[in-house]
């Protein structure tokens, strides 16, 4: 057990979709469980206290009206050697950017920030959710210490992007870098991007600000 890395999974304000995405790797998930030492994951196991861990995967945004959430965020930073903001809510805010409170049963809870805004994260992964294969790729790279593979995610943790479809327009189309490959359109989980005359047109009604389209764009250096 000693040479296995210890991994914790912590959930803040999220739908659990990122964890489900990891489990969606089926038998490969068993390989993952065999090659790591999972020390905390409320959905899958009975452990009450967040222990110290080599890697803490955090999914979800931080609710500022919930002091418990803020404490968990700080605890995560203290206990984790490498803190990974897993998925768009933790990395960028995603759907929680649209929250404004006034809903039952907690009408006062209306301010959500991405984890990257609250604590320093070592890595951030966009996507709603990130695909099973991608999460697997990151965990495998963490086990092997493959820094080359992890580089984009380390950079993503400190980049200040809007994580909106607008990023594509401002950083790629407006900068005469878009050549119309269409990968952004295919990657969008809500089909908010239509290719018109070889360029992306983003529907602001459908975009959930998950950041996938611009991460997937080959013309942006991440």
């Amino acid at each position: 057990m000693e040479d296995k890395i210890t991994v914790a999974h912590v959930q803040l304000s999220s739908c659990c979709g990122c964890l489900i995405s990891l489990v969606d790797t089926y038998e490969k998930f068993l390989d993952v469980l065999n090659s790591i030492d999972l020390v905390y994951c409320q959905t899958l196991m009975d452990a009450r206290e967040i222990p110290e861990a080599d890697v803490i995967l955090v999914e979800g945004a931080v609710c500022l009206e919930d002091h418990h959430a803020l404490e968990v965020a700080r605890e995560v930073r203290k206990k984790g050697k490498t803190v990974v903001a897993l998925g768009a809510c933790a990395a960028l805010g995603c759907i929680t950017r649209f929250a404004k409170g006034g809903q039952m049963p907690k009408p006062v809870q209306g301010s959500f920030s991405s984890l990257t805004e609250i604590i320093r994260c070592d890595m951030a992964i966009p996507g709603c959710p990130p695909s099973p294969e991608l999460i697997l790729g990151v965990i495998t790279a963490l086990i092997k210490g493959d820094e080359e593979y992890l580089k984009p995610f380390r950079r993503y943790a400190v980049c200040k992007c809007e994580s909106c479809g607008c990023d594509l327009i401002i950083n790629v189309v407006n900068k005469s870098l878009c050549m119309g490959c269409g990968i952004c359109s295919a990657s969008c989980p809500t089909r908010a991007i239509e290719m018109v005359d070889g360029r992306p047109v983003v529907s602001p009604q459908l975009c959930v600000k998950c950041g996938v389209c611009s991460f997937q764009c080959p013309r942006i250096e991440i």
Partner: protein, 286 residues
């Protein structure tokens, strides 16, 4: 570094199927490879660029040889082929997908295969990447101006377009052939092509294009084992006929020269953009 990227071998080849030869651009390699793949259960869906009225390109998931044939031939404008990638896997439920694309599209797909953030269960279903040689592309209206204003042909009457011998050629359904010098078409190129340094789709499994081979034949760059296996089988089973590549000035020499021209010219543009403080794409195929 080799201006053609890394590869195992280069040959000249053409399809043997008359249906392909009737509709294809040069040697019909892309159509032949995809039809071979579909007929022999190596592929069950291929992403191609079809066209609608007025030569408007439409990315399409083809699952039968007939659909591949319908989409044969080059479109000199942007077809966002990768936009149907997820649809091929989800809606069409394809498990062995072939994709044809320009060098930038192949690069984009390789990135998605390495970092499939938004692509659940896609990586193991993309089985073959076929790249086409590309110097630059035209936005749809740019292409239309070349055809209608520079060549004086109504877009509805066009059956084929081609680039070769320093000219842009337009063939009409009345049998007319019009052409215009490439010098005149340069202003209608999309500017994002000028920061691309990949002429031969260096990250594909197989790359193909007309340059380097006689009329009616295509140059085929076989880049890895996957590409080699499929091309060898196609030759063995009579889907393709091959001839050795002309190693001389008008064969491999010309291909290498054009690949190098694109690299050097567009590296200058990249440097120029840097001087202006404009963003540039990540350096992958410089």
């Amino acid at each position: 570094m080799d201006p053609l990227g890394s590869y195992k071998s280069i040959i000249s080849a053409r399809a043997t199927d008359k249906r392909i030869l009737k509709r294809c651009q040069d040697g019909g390699i892309v159509s032949a490879v995809f039809i071979y793949g579909l007929e022999n259960n190596i592929l069950d869906g291929v992403i191609v660029a079809d066209k609608e009225e007025g030569f408007r390109p439409v990315p399409k998931v083809a699952t039968t040889p007939e659909e591949v044939l319908e989409a044969a031939g080059t479109k000199y404008t942007v077809s966002p082929n990768l936009s149907v990638l997820k649809s091929a896997i989800r809606e069409y439920a394809c498990e062995k997908v072939g994709v044809v694309g320009t060098p930038c599209q192949i690069l984009s797909l390789r990135k998605a295969l390495k970092y499939p953030v938004g692509f659940r269960h896609m990586v193991d279903k993309v089985k073959l990447l076929v790249g086409i040689f590309c110097m630059e592309n035209f936005p749809y209206m740019g292409m239309r101006i070349i055809v209608e204003e520079l060549c004086g042909v109504r877009i509805e009457d066009v059956v084929k377009m081609d680039i070769g011998k320093g000219k842009f050629w337009v063939y009409t359904r009345w049998g007319e052939v019009k052409s215009v010098k490439l010098k005149k078409t340069h202003p209608y190129e999309q500017s994002s092509c000028h920061v691309c340094t990949d002429y031969t789709a260096e990250l594909a499994d197989i790359s193909t294009g007309s340059v380097g081979s006689p009329d009616g034949w295509s140059t085929v760059i076989i880049r890895n084992e996957r590409g080699e296996e499929i091309i060898n089988k196609m030759i063995e089973e009579g889907y393709l006929e091959r001839r050795p590549i002309d190693e001389g000035k008008f064969g491999l020499g010309l291909l290498k020269k054009l690949a190098l021209v694109k690299k050097e010219k567009n590296m200058k543009e990249i440097e120029h953009r840097k001087e202006l403080g404009l963003p540039v794409p990540p350096d992958v195929c410089h």
